[in-house]
């Protein structure tokens, strides 16, 4: 199997990110720290076959964020995102 078969969309990690953030994160907008492209999380490229998920910018392929779930904790690395715009909780 080639890695091309393992590419998913930001939708795929909506449940996991929902454990960290308040509200629906797949419609949050992230700005790529490398190329500046602004996309909704649902439109990002997700590679979920590693232990955890790697999320890349669909425009320049740079790694935006990594998220991994352990038994009782979550690791979230956001180094590639320069801005995350979320809807404020009502």
């Amino acid at each position: 199997m080639e890695s091309a078969d393992l590419k998913l969309d930001g939708n795929a990690i909506g449940g996991l990110l929902g454990e960290v953030f308040v509200g629906e994160l797949t419609v949050a907008r992230s700005t790529c720290g490398t190329c500046g492209a602004v996309r909704e999380i649902g439109a990002l490229a997700v590679y979920a076959h590693a232990p955890g998920a790697v999320v890349r910018c669909p425009s320049c392929e740079a790694v935006l964020l990594r998220v991994a779930r352990g038994e009782d904790r979550i690791w979230l690395e956001l180094q590639g995102v320069s801005c995350l715009e979320l809807r404020a909780p009502a």
Binding site: D5, K7, A12, G14, G18, G42, A43
Partner: protein
Amino acid sequence: MPETPRVSSLVLDVPGWGGHRPGQHVDVRLTAEDGYQAQRSYSLAAPADGERLVLTVERLEDGEVSPFLVDELRPGDMFELRGPIGGYFVWDGGGPLHLVAGGSGVVPLMAMLRHRAGGDAPASATLLYSSRTLGDVIYREELDRRAGSDPTLTVVHTLTREQPEGWRGYARRIDLEMLAEVFDRSETEASVFVCGPTRFVEVAADGLVGLGYEPSRVKTERFGPT
């Protein structure tokens, strides 16, 4: 409820379910006796009927979750469910719909068509649906029935592996020419949703963008091998 030899629909009673939108999914988590957990995402196949949900699940041979859901689950069994999830690959009604499905990628798109059928005077909808064989077409009878009774709904099938005798539909993988023939590009305000295996989605989404669809209007949901 079997849909095809490999695909079944599950009807779930979820106490406290607060409703969901067409295109959303749930995460199903199974826990083995030794504590091992496996979790997968499945699309909701229909609008919520109170606290009753429908998931449609394709059995994957080496899957950790789908063989249990399709083969072993019995009425009365319970498991963990998280959702509804997703706000991106979601249709809230209104305007024409252009849908492209590969295999079980039809499930969230069917939720949109079922939702649409419940509304008044719906705008047009077109579904291009790629399956391997006629027997692999999920919801075939319902799609035929809906398309037969609703002049604003068009369902176009392509069968990529095997076609029955006298088949008059498409008989190849989707390509630019097929997308151009099936979809009315004058409907520039159409909502476009593409769901299927990763490579299918890439071909369909690239094709639609190549035909002039605004990339941000083409929403995709890929599913992986397990």
